[in-house]
């Protein structure tokens, strides 16, 4: 596995974060969700076609927790600074869940360095009548991860990875940062919907048809507000298609990016 990606530490101003990189091609930045950063099989698959860059957000794992980190907006500005510092352009920006929320907050601020945006079961909007079936902050860690999946049996690997007692401190650090970012307002930004029209890059929404945290109505709300956004629904899939249905997820992303390139 070690040869598949490299790990480095990059600093933007006073904040050092861990960056995983693998593959070659057009740049694809993957923003991870609340459970933390890991080089997972779907990233490896993507690395066969793209230069995959997977940062570990400030406040997570081995990355610093800077004093200035209070809200999701702080992370959006941080990543705009990071893109500039790394001189990255024509980025295909992809985010799942919390990572999708951050990606959206980035895109409404500036799409200057983006080639495309992909939101996968993203947080960010409040959709009346489509509230999460579980409160991820009030159920046990294991129940939370199981609820991510359409088939709870597929949760085992993720449970083993995220809840490994050896990594308890990381899990607690990650959770504290997640609370900072999405506890209140719960997993959404009441001002985000007003500005989704500013997203002027091709946008793909990939959603599990059985997401128990951000049900399909959230995808439809994004689709309605982001000009030209395309929605791909993955059947028999929960909140983390990239983990539960990696082939379908990668295929959907590939098709979208290939069509976009052809059109360009």
């Amino acid at each position: 596995m070690a040869a598949e990606f490299s790990t480095s530490v990059v600093a933007v101003r006073d904040c050092r974060i861990r960056l995983m990189r693998g593959g070659a091609g057009d740049p694809l930045i993957y923003l991870h969700g609340a459970s933390g950063a890991a080089w997972l099989p779907f990233l490896q698959k993507l690395a066969s076609k793209y230069e995959v860059i997977a940062p570990e957000h400030p406040g997570f794992g081995e990355s610093d927790t800077p004093d200035w980190l209070d809200t999701i907006h702080d992370l959006a500005y941080f990543y705009l600074d990071l893109f500039a510092a790394l001189k990255l352009d024509r980025i295909n920006l992809v985010g799942n869940s919390l990572g999708g929320f951050i990606a959206t907050e980035i895109a409404v601020r500036s799409t200057q360095r983006l080639a495309s945006l992909t939101l996968c079961d993203a947080a960010g909007l409040f959709v009346d009548g489509a509230v999460a079936e579980i409160d991820p902050f009030l159920v046990s860690d294991e129940a939370r991860l199981r609820a991510f999946f359409y088939d709870p049996k597929r949760a085992e690997a993720m449970i083993a990875r995220v809840l490994d007692p050896k990594h308890e401190e990381t899990a607690l650090k990650n959770q504290a940062t997640v609370a900072k970012l999405v506890w209140q307002p719960r997993s959404h930004d009441p001002h985000l919907a007003k500005w989704l029209h500013r997203i002027d890059v091709p946008t793909l929404l990939v959603w599990g048809d059985h997401d128990r945290l951000f049900p399909l109505q959230h995808a439809q709300a994004f689709a309605k507000a982001i000009p030209g956004a395309k929605l791909v629904v993955i059947p028999k899939c929960g909140h983390v298609p990239q983990i539960e249905k990696p082939e379908e997820f990668v295929a959907a992303l590939d098709d979208f990016l290939a069509a976009r390139k052809k059109a360009a």
């Binding site: 902050f137 009030l138 159920v139 046990s140 959770q175």
Partner: protein, 387 residues
């Protein structure tokens, strides 16, 4: 020793089986289980108990703030304090305390406490707490901002009480163009500030440095002794010697005719308190960011929330004192010497304990315990005792 009658005002008619099934009486226990007729009756019984405490010679009565729970029916403790301000004629009224981070306008707390201090002509004790973890679920306030909000709200309230207004305040969480609350507190410079905590070392250190009275909630007496020693050590570092008056132990006492009778009478009500009213899953008790990762790890390792405890275990650990008058006197004196406190914050009603039994307990404490221990101070050097 000073004696305060501490009431939680539990909804004693709660459906314990349902609480057991749901895992908690907090946050998600449906309020359809609250019967207003029965609830109103309880409020009046409890208010009467507090006035009775005053008549019996308790030094003070204590209230506190909890939200969305059958554990305690005082989401707005100022309402209860207001109802007591004229009926409780002599005793102090201590609110232990208002949960500062939960409010979006700390000046409301400054105003409420100042009003109560005026109404009681200076008998208010102003408690400040962060609120327990469950409160962050029920209020929606971000637990990761809890410590910052507490510190900022505290500073704002004390400044509002002591610095002539109007002045402007611009913090990270609270901003005001005009800080100029009317009325000002009756006591000068402000009501005594008491800080209850479950034993967070950073809170203990801060309270000691500020010379605020520290109140230890529901803990085994050996842990209480360690926490109080930390307070005294920290006071020493700050250049003064803490007195036993600065340390208050929050306990539950039940006095019966004999040890055996007391145990039998208290058992179901005390076990209802700890095994039903107090119970909550770890995620509810410790939302992420509520405390630092190291403390979080420590509490999770102990798995405090899961255990069912018997009255015998609670007595053996020195969390509660139950017995005939002589036993209770001996235990309380022993614990006073061990931990070095001079204030007992005593729950005389607990869990499902009915009104008549609570009043009999209060009477027994007032007649058999208080007169014999009132002039008692910690006997041994507390430092030595804690080792």
């Amino acid at each position: 020793m000073r004696f305060f009658n501490f009431h939680l005002m539990p909804y004693a008619h709660a459906d314990l089986d349902e609480i057991g099934r749901l895992g908690s009486a907090w946050v998600t226990y449906p309020n359809s289980h609250y019967d207003p007729e029965k609830g109103a009756e309880l409020y009046h019984d409890y208010l009467d108990q507090m006035e009775f405490a005053d008549q019996l010679g308790f030094d003070g009565v204590c209230l506190n703030e909890h939200h969305q729970t059958a554990y305690g029916l005082m989401p707005i403790p100022g309402v209860i304090a207001g109802a007591l301000a004229r009926g409780v004629k002599r005793a102090k009224i201590a609110i232990l305390g208002r949960a500062l981070p939960l409010t979006n306008n700390p000046l409301n707390v400054a105003e409420e406490y100042a009003m109560l201090d005026n109404l009681t002509r200076g008998r208010l004790i102003a408690g400040f707490v962060r609120g327990i973890g469950a409160e962050y679920h029920s209020s929606g306030v971000n637990p990761a901002a809890s410590q910052e909000r507490f510190a900022e709200a505290h500073d704002l309230i004390v400044r509002a009480w002591t610095k002539p207004g109007p002045f402007a305040f611009a913090g990270k969480h609270y901003q005001f163009r005009y800080v100029n609350p009317w009325p000002r507190p009756y006591q000068s410079p402000h009501p005594p500030i008491w800080i209850p905590s479950q034993g967070s070392s950073s809170t203990i250190r801060w309270a000691a440095r500020m010379r605020y009275t520290y109140c230890q909630t529901l803990s085994p007496i050996a842990a209480v002794a360690r926490f109080f020693q930390l307070y005294r050590d920290e006071a020493e570092k700050a250049g003064y010697e803490a007195t036993p008056d600065q340390l208050a132990w929050s306990n539950t006492i039940y006095v019966g005719e004999t040890d055996k009778k007391a145990l039998r009478e208290a058992r179901p009500h005390l076990e209802a308190l700890v095994n039903y009213f107090l119970k909550m899953p770890m995620q509810m008790l410790l939302p992420p960011g509520y405390t630092d990762v190291a403390s979080m790890k420590r509490v999770r390792a102990v798995k405090v929330t899961g255990k069912t405890q018997s009255i015998e275990e609670l007595m053996a650990a020195g969390v509660v004192i139950v017995g005939g008058p002589e036993t209770v006197r001996q235990k309380l004196a022993e614990y006073q010497d061990l931990a070095g406190f001079n204030t007992s914050l005593t729950k005389t009603q607990f869990g499902t304990l009915p009104n008549e039994m609570a009043r009999a307990n209060m009477t027994a404490i007032a007649e058999e315990i208080i007169p014999r221990l009132r002039d008692r101070a910690p006997q041994r050097a507390p430092k030595q005792a804690a080792e």
